[in-house]
Symmetry: D2
Subunit: 352 residues, 4 copies
Amino acid sequence: MRGFGMHSVDNVGWLEKERPTIGPLDALVRPTIVAPCSSDTHVAHGGSGPKQNLILGHEAVGIVEEVGSEVTRFKPGELVAVPCVTPNWLSRGIQNFRSFSHDRGPSGSFKFVGQKDGVWGECFHVNQADPNLAHIPPDVAPEAALMTVDMMSTGFHGVELADIGIGEKVVVIGIGPVGLMAIAGAALRGASQIIAVGTRPAASRVAVAYGATEVISYKDGPLEQQVWDRTSGKGAHKVIVAGGDAATFAAAVRMTRPNGVISNVNFFDVNDAIHIAPLDWGLGMADKDIRGSFCPGGGKRVQRLINMIQYKRIDPMALISHRFHGFDKLPEAFELMDSKAPDLIKPIVYMD
Amino acid sequence: MRGFGMHSVDNVGWLEKERPTIGPLDALVRPTIVAPCSSDTHVAHGGSGPKQNLILGHEAVGIVEEVGSEVTRFKPGELVAVPCVTPNWLSRGIQNFRSFSHDRGPSGSFKFVGQKDGVWGECFHVNQADPNLAHIPPDVAPEAALMTVDMMSTGFHGVELADIGIGEKVVVIGIGPVGLMAIAGAALRGASQIIAVGTRPAASRVAVAYGATEVISYKDGPLEQQVWDRTSGKGAHKVIVAGGDAATFAAAVRMTRPNGVISNVNFFDVNDAIHIAPLDWGLGMADKDIRGSFCPGGGKRVQRLINMIQYKRIDPMALISHRFHGFDKLPEAFELMDSKAPDLIKPIVYMD
Amino acid sequence: MRGFGMHSVDNVGWLEKERPTIGPLDALVRPTIVAPCSSDTHVAHGGSGPKQNLILGHEAVGIVEEVGSEVTRFKPGELVAVPCVTPNWLSRGIQNFRSFSHDRGPSGSFKFVGQKDGVWGECFHVNQADPNLAHIPPDVAPEAALMTVDMMSTGFHGVELADIGIGEKVVVIGIGPVGLMAIAGAALRGASQIIAVGTRPAASRVAVAYGATEVISYKDGPLEQQVWDRTSGKGAHKVIVAGGDAATFAAAVRMTRPNGVISNVNFFDVNDAIHIAPLDWGLGMADKDIRGSFCPGGGKRVQRLINMIQYKRIDPMALISHRFHGFDKLPEAFELMDSKAPDLIKPIVYMD
Amino acid sequence: MRGFGMHSVDNVGWLEKERPTIGPLDALVRPTIVAPCSSDTHVAHGGSGPKQNLILGHEAVGIVEEVGSEVTRFKPGELVAVPCVTPNWLSRGIQNFRSFSHDRGPSGSFKFVGQKDGVWGECFHVNQADPNLAHIPPDVAPEAALMTVDMMSTGFHGVELADIGIGEKVVVIGIGPVGLMAIAGAALRGASQIIAVGTRPAASRVAVAYGATEVISYKDGPLEQQVWDRTSGKGAHKVIVAGGDAATFAAAVRMTRPNGVISNVNFFDVNDAIHIAPLDWGLGMADKDIRGSFCPGGGKRVQRLINMIQYKRIDPMALISHRFHGFDKLPEAFELMDSKAPDLIKPIVYMD
């Protein structure tokens, strides 16, 4: 079958691969809409090592084509959202109460692109369909459901990790789609002031629509100073990092109050070492928690996020800035993501 | 000075009392707007024992008249919101991390009406002004700030206690002002479906405006059955009890899923014993937590709630159904609260 | 194959049943040591409904006889501890962060005796061996490992649920094996004073050995009064209920301080309704949490408990009061458990 | 009155100062036993800025000499333990549920040495005696109580912050008195394996006595490698940092498993920047929480720790390696601490 991916590092293109086979717990899904993500371009450029002959993509909704003999909740023909993280629930690594993300080793629950072909093929393999897929009800647009599988789940997770209390003041660094969902999520968890950090005009408008009370820019001076100025000199209770580099991260620590949390859902570059000045971290004693996690996995998570759309608590459609029609447009969508056009938030590709 | 309160049980009227004196940490406040609460009528009818010669009222905003020698954050002439719960922060009882409500014994942090005269006088005493008062900024309506001191704080606390996860399904029992704030709070913490329980048409409309997806009534059959019917037979993840009696409470336990929480912010009648059938509680093993608390105290809490109004995350004005003008209208407002008129949600009295 | 169980309610005896067959994820285990539990006698007397032709028993260590094609962590011949709760990890019910006990409906993760034959047969079926079994290392006595699968896991869970802070004062109601493990667990989590409630002399001695600072008896007056007397009139921070009936439970609520927890790991009789007087529960507002759960499931849990033995943090051998040798002694051991001999704590049966 | 402290940076000696005066909430205490701490030498060498004419010392037990007019729990002549952290409970900064340590700004609740003279004088000032002091009961040795005010409170706090689950594997870096108490605390919270990191023979013996299962040294290779070797290649669930520098801290992050916690209670040098390599922190997504806090304040905390001694859950006396008799021996004790003699753990000075 045909798929779009990487021949090798910095060399993307069409691949011809065997159609995947499934085990008794698994499913085969035909993607109907997919969304390129900056992680895909990151991988294509070697960000997770020298991968070869790999179909890319990890955000998809689609139609179940085939299910294994033990699958009971899903059957062929059903429309499903596919979480980008699909844990092996039989692994010991998920038997703790902090996250299901690390089934075997760090980020082990991330299968697509990470451990096998991604979703940009004629069809793709889903491990453990019963716990890992989610139905899309008729009153939820598939495009909206597509936004839950990574963007909303990751952005909201930054918020959950930050443990926001009602009325707290929150900074969200980054106004890409994950940052925008973190803004929406912060509002949804009861933040009062929400300061977004970013520069792109289109995304800034969406940030405000999702609940940012103001948008500040790296260009107008040190971020921590701007945050102090806007919070009576006290800083933020919680800072969610959904973009930037190690320097931004250091600023995030600096702008956080004692008893605060710096919550990272950003993918760190392997060469970008984190550096924290002791005074910024209260000499190690200021109760500024530093946390970092990624998109929680599993079907129930995505089902609940779909419920949020269904009950009109959030509309993620404002994330979608570009639409492509046809499987053949994948290279173009990928290129758009890779070049980070100024008006880009999130592109989607209708596969049919 | 003059105040409205109870001569004795079931005997309310105007009282003449000494103007309170303050210690070095305290303040004297002149109320400008007050709001009668069902707790006031409850006390007047002997619900907290045979009290005598007691000024009632515990919800007020007002002007600081006088402060003690050690007070640094507040000064005469400032407009303040007065939390209905004002802990003694020097008490050992607050040195734990679960709540500040029980400074000495259960509910010890509730001073007005509970341990001294309430706020329906020409002025009233506030213990420990610095930690216990909150400024009202110019861009927040005093009436809105008044709604934070008990109604919003208590309703939101029911939500906090319920520990709502994003996308969870929540039932709120009771659509009085606390229940309505619990509905708004559940939406604000990321609930998807919110089923309100109540019968009054005016309050039902406000419930929907604050985020209830549906309103069900005791009159249409057993509550748990209605909830099961609306949640695919599974029940609610979390139930907030902001009204009803022991029978309603039993239904609340019944309609909650395993791993759920029943969160009570309702004042139980001393004669209304709680009964839980073992099967309803999973024979004691279903991880259905039963929690009960009341309005958290302190100035920071109310300040954060005022911030929620300031940043337009919530507008509590829809709670106010009746307005009275003049100190002399207190008896009328009290009577309205006591008779629970069908269109009543919350009355307020402008004292000038 | 032969097994000991119930023909019908109140009618136990030897059963002849088919040897179980296993699926690709499962294992077949031959028990080498088993321990009767009061839950077994409870079920035999109809406590969980009119069951028939059911092999009893849910506490076992044994030798793996056979594993399914997908099992990778265990192989025939290995000595394993078998958690009494073995969740279906592919179920959606475990995808929350509060407990893994309710895979489908309340207590759904309890399979032995609850949903299929128990462990008192020549061999027994274990669902999902990889996540659900635990190896017993050579330096841990199999008898000690046997104590982890229910008694230690359940008793410690009562402690975990109670969320004990360092230095808190704890009451443990019941000094059966679960209560004794709750005492040991409370000491292991940093309780200061630990008041045990029970009457049996043998168990009382073990209670003190495991860390109880005193043992009080129902016979010496109301429990809450005795607890108040021993805690400067303040009551316990946390109460763990591992025995008793609804009356005891009411006393537990009464003796708990505000901001406390009543943690139940006791199996409630279906006819024994819980009754809480409002004043005992602070009129619903005293922040006295009431929680009830049961033995957490899964192989990692039991592995960690075995580690506790291995690193000499706890020695559960003092629980074992009676030893029987030979499969044929099962009826005798069952009878001993059923009659609750005064010197009984926990019997075990060596199957060979 | 006379006191021992710093004339200026690197210049310690006897000072003559005014006897402190107290406000209505405060107390004056005459120290009977004090304990020098490495923080005192750190301050003396300018570690917290160019302080002058400052009496040092923050660990003391003593006799109440005088109390303010509003103090009710304590009276002259009583023997008390004085927490090294004494929050201003009237500050807004303590009205959150994460810690009481930062009443105004980071570490604001640390008054002795930090904001006023310390305890090495003829007497010293205690702010807010009622919430901040703790009685020493007759059955607890004053020397043992002295160990609670900082060493036990801080060490145990490292453990609390690490949020240890029963059976988890823990590393404690540093076997100074705080590290030793972290070891004892980890055992007391249910850790299984406890790997201590340190080199001093005397302290190593105490580490084992308090529950370390092994002691490893910086000299035997990279710490993370040694930890991996001793934990089947998996690393520790939780790491408590009670010593070392930024390089050690980086190793701590490295040796922690996904879903783990690095809990810091070490005072970072202002010049020793924290560096974390992205891969060590799972590229920001491995759920390895980094937390840093310091000794929790308040009288209830210390009272509970004293209860731990009273109920024989812990005996901190093994920390005391050196005893000095007489106020005049303070310089000698200080010098011992400053020079870090090989057999030093903790010196104390009897003031009479």
